[in-house]
Structures are given as structure tokens and as C-alpha cells.
């Protein structure tokens, strides 16, 4: 089975000059954890995820703590989000993301998405245009068939 046979044919994406706030709303409205980033001709130029925003607003030392129970409040994080919410997502997105091709196999898609711990990956056609997305659930569903 090829990627084109089980990918979601949704080419909803964001542009790199959209703001972080617009990206958050887009994810919430669409129940997505992230979205492909495209240029003006729908070529995939990166991926933006909710994790990218979280990393940008949560102090780096927090990741090393076992418990956050002693942190007095979330003001620092809120303030950081306030500072970046109007900035373009180009500053936070991940560029050079590996994208799947419509002709890739189910196994290669599963391998890539698990190996790199992606929740989803964009799928591109032969010219690099966004053709859809693949999520872990879609891979599992395809394996059931």
C-alpha cells in the first residue's frame, strides 16, 4: 500500500508569515496538533506544531525538573506567549522537515514517523506540492485493512 492510498487528502496549511496566535487558533479549530507550512505555490517549506510553541514559551530548565508543583504560577509562560503571539511562525517552525511522498510505502511512512517521533508528516507530490498529511492513527488504520 502506498501513502496516497491512506493519507488524508487535506491540504489545509499555514503560511510562514501567519502569526503564532493565528496558528494556535487554526490548530484548536481543526483539532490538529500541528500543520504543514507552505509557500505561495503550496510547496511544503516546513512544519509547525504545538510543541514548537511550547518550547518557545516554557523556560528550558523546566524540562529538567521532575516536578513543577513548586512553581508559584504560570505568569512567566503567559508573558512569553504574549511576547511571541504576534510574531511570524517562520521564527518557530521547523524547516527542512522530512516529508513523505505519495508513492512511498506504508512501511516506510510508519518507520519514519515512529523513528523521528512525529505525530504527523506532510505528504508531497513529485513537485514538492502539499498533497495531504499522514498521522499515526492513519498508519494504524491502514495496517488494519
Amino acid at each position: 500500500m502506498k501513502v496516497k492510498d491512506f493519507m488524508e487528502r487535506d491540504v489545509t496549511a499555514v503560511f510562514s508569515d501567519e502569526t503564532v496566535e493565528e496558528f494556535i487558533h487554526a490548530c484548536v479549530h481543526q483539532f490538529r496538533s500541528g500543520l504543514p507550512v507552505v509557500d505561495s505555490e503550496m510547496r511544503v517549506v516546513g512544519v509547525m506544531t504545538e510543541s514548537d510553541v511550547m518550547h518557545a514559551i516554557i523556560p528550558s530548565y523546566m524540562e529538567m525538573l521532575h516536578s513543577t508543583s513548586f512553581i508559584p504560577d504560570t505568569n512567566i509562560t503567559k508573558k512569553r506567549l504574549e511576547e511571541i503571539k504576534n510574531k511570524h511562525i517562520s521564527q518557530y517552525m521547523r524547516e527542512n522537515v522530512e516529508a513523505l511522498k505519495t508513492t512511498d510505502t506504508l512501511l516506510s511512512a510508519a518507520t519514519l514517523i515512529i523513528k523521528k517521533s512525529h505525530r504527523f508528516l506532510p505528504v508531497v507530490d513529485e513537485d514538492g506540492h502539499l498533497a495531504g498529511i499522514v498521522t499515526r492513527a492513519l498508519i494504524l488504520e491502514a495496517l488494519l485493512i
Partner: protein, 319 residues
């Protein structure tokens, strides 16, 4: 994919069959097959029919709220994930159209709810998506109502953008949005005159009215104008010829919903397969007839459309 369909105001269509509908009482529906939910809106329907004809398309639209999310899930599920989609989400809910069909008293009651309000920034993002998708297609179909917050001149802008991108445009709209679109000179215009027979400020009654209206639209830059005329016929006008495409005999019409959208899908099928406008119109009319023969939005694929071709005859209109 070569075709883009644009639906600014998609709707989640709910159809409920109720016998002896009565206002002011509770009707309990126990049979699940008497309720149908389907994604709707002109462009969405065109994409659905194109899928039945084996033509890939991308459906671009504005969705909102949980209804919008349900719409998208139904798109994926009902059409087996075959139609490409691209949606911009806004906060307000996508509109719902409720149709109550009473087969006993032979009535149809429709309740069409309002669509979402689209703010300026969302509209800008939508247009950016539109332009990006234009770079990948050859034909763009634009039609339907316009949600609040968006200027009624939007179709004019969209046609001009498509022309700049060398994309063929087909406009299927009514009222003021149609008038603005016509000013931009789209390639093909199919005015939707189901609600009002006024186009460019003139009321259409006689065949001559239709012909002169079509010519006025041609003079503004269109290459072909298609008018539905007296239910069974279509008047088609190009700068070179004027024809009435007529349906021979009588058929048992089961469905009249979405036949205009089936028509456009058939037309696009013809054009995509290298046919000229005259031949493509035959495909369009055949697709519409095939759709009338079935209960729901279904033209029975290419075979269904081809079978309906034999029901069409053409008559030149001297003007």
C-alpha cells in the same frame, strides 16, 4: 489535480423524512434511514460529482465551529477520502440547512440557517490560500452564497486573480455577486436563476430576454453563457453560436437538488478531456439529467452520464 472548486459558505445539509408533518407537535423519527446528513454547497457538490466522474479536485472553503469540523469529517468519510480539501476555519459555526420531506402530503420544508461571520484577517488568509491553490490548477469553479463579513464584490476579485494565473473560470452564482463576477469577464457563466429571474438588473421572461442577457454577458468578456430555460432546456450562447440544448421526451424526475452542480461537473469533465464547448455542454446536460434520475447526489459515474447523452437534442437559435 487540475480543478479547484470554491465554496465560501458551505453547509451541512440535513434531510429528514417525516410523514404528515405538523407544526406545533413532536415528531419522533425511529428509522435512521429517514435522516441523512451530507456536506453541501455549490463547489462542494461539484467536487462530489467530479469525483463520480473520476476527476480529482480540491474543494476550498470556509468552515467554522464544531459543525465545520463535522462537515470535514463527513467529507472524508462519505467520499472515502477521495476529494482533496483545504479549509480556513473561523470561530462561528458553519451553516446548516434542514430539509423536511413529507412524502404523504408531498411537501418540502426547508430551514436554512445563517453562516459564520468572516473577519477581515480570516478573509485575507483565505484569499492567500486561494491564490496558492490557483498556481496548481487549470480550471476554477466559483459559486454559491457569500458569508457575512465578505464583500459582495469578492467574485470579481477572484475571477481577476484566476485570470492572472491563467486559470479558466466558471461562475455559478446569483444576484449582486454574479453581477460583480460578470464584470470581470469569467470564461463561463451559469447564472443561478432559481430564486430570481433578474440578471444584471433585467427580468428574464421570454427566450429573447435570455438571449439578449447572455449576449450582454458575452460582451463583458465571457466566452460562454449557460441559462437553464423552462426546466427541460438550456440556452447556451457563445460569441460564435446560440443553441438550445433540449431534453427529448419525459423522464421520471426523482431529484432536482444539485442538478446545476452536476451540470458543471459534466461540463468540466468535457473540457478536461479536450472537448470543445459545444460537446462539453452535452456532457454537462447529460450529467444533470442523470442526477435527476436518482434519489441523492448521484449521476451513476461516466456510464450514467453517457447513457443520458441520448436524451439530448440540439436546436440552433437564430438571433
Amino acid at each position: 489535480m487540475d480543478v479547484l472548486t470554491v465554496t465560501l459558505n458551505p453547509a451541512l445539509d440535513r434531510l429528514i423524512e417525516i410523514d404528515n408533518l405538523e407544526i406545533g407537535t413532536i415528531h419522533r423519527i425511529f428509522e435512521s434511514e429517514k435522516t441523512h446528513i451530507s456536506p453541501g454547497g455549490k463547489g462542494i457538490n461539484v467536487s462530489l460529482y467530479l469525483d463520480q466522474l473520476g476527476i480529482e479536485s480540491t474543494a476550498l472553503g470556509i468552515l467554522g465551529g464544531l459543525t465545520g469540523r463535522m462537515f470535514q469529517v463527513r467529507m472524508k468519510r462519505d467520499f472515502d477520502n477521495r476529494i482533496f480539501t483545504s479549509f480556513l476555519y473561523v470561530k462561528d459555526e458553519t451553516r446548516e440547512n434542514l430539509t423536511l420531506v413529507d412524502r404523504k402530503s408531498k411537501t418540502i420544508t426547508a430551514l436554512n440557517l445563517p453562516g459564520p461571520k468572516v473577519d477581515q484577517r480570516s478573509f485575507e488568509l483565505f484569499m492567500k490560500k486561494y491564490v496558492a491553490l490557483l498556481s496548481r490548477v487549470k480550471i476554477c469553479e466559483i459559486g454559491g452564497t457569500i458569508p457575512s463579513g465578505i464583500s459582495l464584490e469578492v467574485y470579481n476579485k477572484m475571477v481577476n486573480m484566476a485570470k492572472k494565473a491563467n486559470v479558466m473560470t466558471i461562475v455559478n452564482a446569483h444576484g449582486e455577486p454574479l453581477s460583480h463576477a460578470i464584470e470581470a469577464g469569467p470564461d463561463i457563466v451559469k447564472p443561478d436563476i432559481r430564486g430570481s429571474k433578474v440578471v444584471l438588473g433585467k427580468t428574464l421572461n421570454t427566450l429573447d430576454d435570455y438571449v439578449s442577457s447572455a449576449k450582454e454577458i458575452i460582451d463583458k468578456g465571457a466566452r460562454m453563457v449557460i441559462y437553464s430555460f423552462e426546466v427541460k432546456n438550456d440556452l447556451v450562447v457563445t460569441p460564435e453560436w446560440t443553441y438550445l440544448f433540449k431534453m427529448k421526451g419525459e423522464i421520471k424526475r426523482i431529484n432536482l437538488m444539485g442538478t446545476g452542480d452536476a451540470y458543471i461537473a459534466g461540463l468540466i469533465y468535457g473540457i478536461s478531456n479536450g472537448k470543445d464547448f459545444f460537446e462539453s455542454v452535452r456532457y454537462g446536460m447529460a450529467a444533470a439529467i442523470a442526477d435527476e434520475l436518482t434519489e441523492e447526489k448521484n449521476i451513476g459515474g461516466i456510464d450514467g452520464m453517457n447513457a443520458a447523452m441520448k436524451l439530448i437534442e440540439m436546436e440552433r437559435v437564430l438571433s
